[in-house]
Point group: C2
Chain length 394, copies 2
């Protein structure tokens, strides 16, 4: 970049959970950088990993937002946002489990986790099949359900039957009683549908590293329920696998979103890194190709960050493009710095001094703009540095 000219900066953060959505982060960073370089070219790529915000992030690159009324986790009807985009493979619907059974929704969390169902996601897919779509990107993450994806299957026409052939509700409380999964009435159009599962969770469906044990507690599964619930899901899963003729419960990502990863794989879905798919849809590589600098970030960076979180994905793309990438997060765990240092050209945080989390969240947009401006000022000074006369060292 010629001395004195403005840089091209790719800004590709994830959301700052509980504080700012990814596009709001992009806007604040851009505001700060523009104070340093009024004509800076900021290429905003608000990222997501399949969880909350995925539809919105993908739509930032274009496409059509739509809403469909479906059942929430507790049965209350709600309008779920869907993104319609065109990929090289054709028209594609982008769904997000969190839009239907989101853990931040008061509805879903109002009933015990054993009564919550993902049936609404099945309803949503059916609506989209009705609308003619056959290609689906399904973001998993941020769900309040832990039903092994039984709700999704039932929403698409499958039936859970007990030993007497009576239909059971698609809730965790009933799964131990499932004697047969009837796939006869499954929507026939699924045969020509393809599902890409966007997730950053590697868990299998069951066992100590499965959906129930790892993610159940944050959804309200109490310790005493863990073993029983895990066993019920394992039982249902074996029955469902027999009906579909596929063994997928031990596959990577089967445990994503309380087992929605399992159900979608039963339907032939393929698991991909949510952040990688979003990066591709948003054209992250194209944005990086002739950029000078990239900034990514998340609410809090720690030792999990390098395990496939959005900033790590952005960093790997930036490295391939030869673009230095700086991390700007709400907080950075000092213990993670040793690892992060190998990846980022500086790791920075929001606070302007000692402050509480609440204060940090309340003033996040201003802090982000200020911090970005300061990063820009340091960047500017260092990038404009030239050898000066009189320097004596080699």
């Amino acid at each position: 970049m010629p001395a004195g000219s403005s840089p091209v900066v790719v800004v590709a953060p994830s959301s700052f959970k509980g504080s700012l959505e990814a596009d709001e982060v992009c806007a604040a960073v851009a505001r700060g950088l523009a104070r340093v370089w009024p004509d800076v070219e900021v290429r905003a790529r608000p990222m997501a990993d399949g969880g909350e915000g995925t539809v919105k992030a993908i739509l930032s690159a274009g496409g059509e937002p739509r809403r469909f009324e479906v059942s929430g986790a507790a049965g209350t009807r709600r309008a779920a946002a869907v993104g319609i985009i065109t990929t090289p493979e054709g028209p594609t619907a982008v769904l997000e489990a969190a839009e239907v059974v989101g853990i931040t929704e008061p509805d879903g969390m109002a009933v015990p986790v054993t009564e919550r169902s993902s049936v609404g996601l099945g309803e949503l897919v059916r609506e989209l099949l009705d609308a003619g779509f056959r290609r689906f990107l399904v973001g998993l993450g941020g769900s309040s359900t832990n039903d092994g994806g039984a709700g999704l299957l039932v929403g698409l026409g499958a039936r859970l039957l007990d030993g007497d052939g009576r239909a059971l509700a698609a809730t965790p409380a009933q799964l131990a009683r499932v004697a047969r999964v009837d796939v006869g009435a499954l929507d026939e159009r699924l045969a020509t549908a393809t599902f890409t599962i966007l997730s950053d969770v590697d868990s299998p469906l069951c066992g100590p590293s499965g959906a129930t044990f790892v993610f159940g507690p944050q959804k309200g599964v109490i310790p005493a329920q863990l073993t029983t619930l895990d066993a019920a899901i394992a039982h249902y899963a074996a029955v469902a696998e027999a009906a579909f003729g596929r063994r997928v419960s031990t596959e990577r990502g089967a445990g994503a979103a309380g087992g929605l990863g399992f159900a979608l794989q039963l339907l032939g879905g393929r698991v991909e890194s949510g952040a990688e798919v979003v990066a591709q849809v948003l054209g992250l590589d194209e944005a990086l190709a002739d950029a000078d600098w990239a900034i990514t970030g998340e609410g809090r960076s720690d030792e999990q960050t390098l395990l496939g979180k959005t900033p790590a994905v952005v960093a790997s793309h930036a490295r391939r493009a030869g673009v230095p990438v700086t991390l700007l997060s709400g907080a950075v765990d000092g213990r993670a710095l040793a690892g992060l240092n190998g990846v980022f050209a500086g790791c920075f945080t929001l606070p302007s001094g000692p402050m509480s989390l609440a204060e940090c969240i309340a003033t996040a947009p201003a802090l982000l703009a200020d911090r970005s401006e300061q990063l820009g000022r340091l960047w500017k000074a260092a990038s404009e540095l030239r050898p000066r006369a009189g320097k004596s060292r080699g």
Copy 2:
């Protein structure tokens, strides 16, 4: 600076009050930078402004530390550190009011401010006169006394007399009763002594912007005492000025250190910016001459920072040398950024995320090293940036 080589970095912070001394700040910053560039050349210039840490900062450039036992503000004997240096003008003693009557000393604060006296500073000057010194740099700031410098004068032989010719104690409580200041017994060697007063305080001795009203409250002067105490000091000052034949109470800096600035000016002292004098003694300009980057900082930066505080002094020297200077403080008031941005190549802070002041102070060395490392990583990436093929903009 050639690509890939390590920079020369001048590190010239003030102390982080209540947390780290300036040399400790230098060490932590150097540690962080060395993680980025193992062979980085750090030129540590621990700064001070005349207040606490001035002797230590000046001795970092060489010289001999000494200690003299003198009276503290409440009369308890204490060992005050003095620095002996050689300047172009000859052997010079560096004194610091905070070493004798420091506000962080439990002794001085144990008695009411109306009973505290700066007599120990007079004793200290006398010890140094005995040792043969005639040139004094006296750092003012961080004092617990507000005696108009009466103690200093008495320590040097002057006498405060009441209307009946009886000697009064050199404490604020007695100043209203001073009818005459007897300078007959003043140490004769003062006639050939020169005092340079190091201060960053512009206040006159009395009035609304004087020592009592501005600095009295933080020393324990209660609101109801302010007017009476200010009037007592004004009374004493007029009497003293008559005795010395000099009018200096309205001079800039007369109100520094509870009026020690007044007393030293009565003795012919000249007020200079503490940080400027320290910069000169430490050879800041020489260090900056062929440096690539400078880092300064303080405990907390706000709208006062640009009013002659150490970072502002360092910044003005760096600007003259053409060296970008970055601010790394414990906290930076967001309202001050607009001004600070005109001076610093980036303003950064210690916290790694939301944290309390206590946590920040407790982990300050590690935070400083980490933050400096991250600044270094960003600096490195930006300074190594080169135009890359395929970039299409001008």
